[in-house]
């Protein structure tokens, strides 16, 4: 299935991009995350939360075709 990945903050440096269309057989957030950590090993060095369709989710969250998946390092607004 096709996922729309969004990387934010320092993770844009870790992956070299801010967004990516990603074809994946991962059925949940945790397995997607493991796939991405292989492609982008720099990710492992960072702390981040994961959002699906604009909601922060736990790592067991199921994924569906067309989902937007956001990789969110610690917030630093203000």
């Amino acid at each position: 299935m096709k996922l729309n990945l969004l990387f934010f903050g320092i993770l844009t440096d870790a992956t070299g991009k801010a967004k990516q269309e990603f074809e994946s057989d991962a059925t949940d957030v945790d397995s997607l995350n493991k796939q991405l950590q292989i492609i982008y090993p720099e990710l492992i060095k960072h702390t981040y939360k994961i959002g699906v369709n604009s909601e922060i989710v736990s790592r067991g969250k199921k994924l569906y075709d067309g989902d937007e998946v956001s990789f969110l390092p610690p917030f630093a607004g203000g």
Binding site: I10, A76, G78
Partner: protein, 171 residues
């Protein structure tokens, strides 16, 4: 009535709007570039018609020209997940109106480049009496820093940059 208060601050419904429509209005906290002092003045002067207000408290975050190795901060580049950020701000509004006895609340946060010396965060709390404003202001600024998906990249005068750390605990 408590619900109406903040949704209707400077947004008095026209005859044809129902309350439900009014409630769905977005507050659009994020603004492109710096928050100008004329924008702040305008926000203040609009409140002179809200004569039940006795006290305003305002917080302004200003970009510091901090030293960094051989250089200085030139600007901060703010980025966000816009939908998540606006949702997070909306949640902060709702919690704030439950926690504090406020009449109005306005928040504006910059996205994009903001130069050293310029303002990137504007929090504006209005209450009947002064006592509630101070705690509300502090709570709001802390909550914004903790719960809104915004990131900042410090660009230095020598061309280098650094992503600034937030204080979010690991998931």
């Amino acid at each position: 009535m408590t619900e109406m208060k903040f949704h209707f601050c400077h947004r008095l419904p026209a005859g044809k709007h129902s309350m439900m429509e009014e409630k769905k209005k977005k507050h659009n906290v994020l603004v492109e570039g710096r928050v100008t002092s004329t924008f702040i003045a305008d926000a203040i002067s609009k409140h002179s018609s809200k004569t039940e207000i006795g006290a305003h408290a305002i917080f302004l975050g200003q970009v510091r020209r901090d030293a960094q190795k051989d250089s200085f901060v030139k600007n901060i580049e703010y980025s966000a997940h816009p939908e998540m950020a606006e949702k997070a701000f909306e949640k902060i509004r709702e919690k704030a109106f439950k926690k504090f006895d406020m009449i109005c609340l306005h928040i504006h946060h910059s996205i994009g480049m903001v130069d050293a010396g310029e303002v990137s965060l504007f929090v504006f709390v209005s209450c009947k009496h002064r006592a509630q404003t101070f705690g509300a202001l502090k709570w709001l600024v802390d909550e914004i820093k903790k719960t809104v998906p915004i990131w900042k990249k410090e660009n230095y005068e020598n061309g280098s940059y650094k992503w600034l750390d937030g204080d979010q605990p690991p998931m």
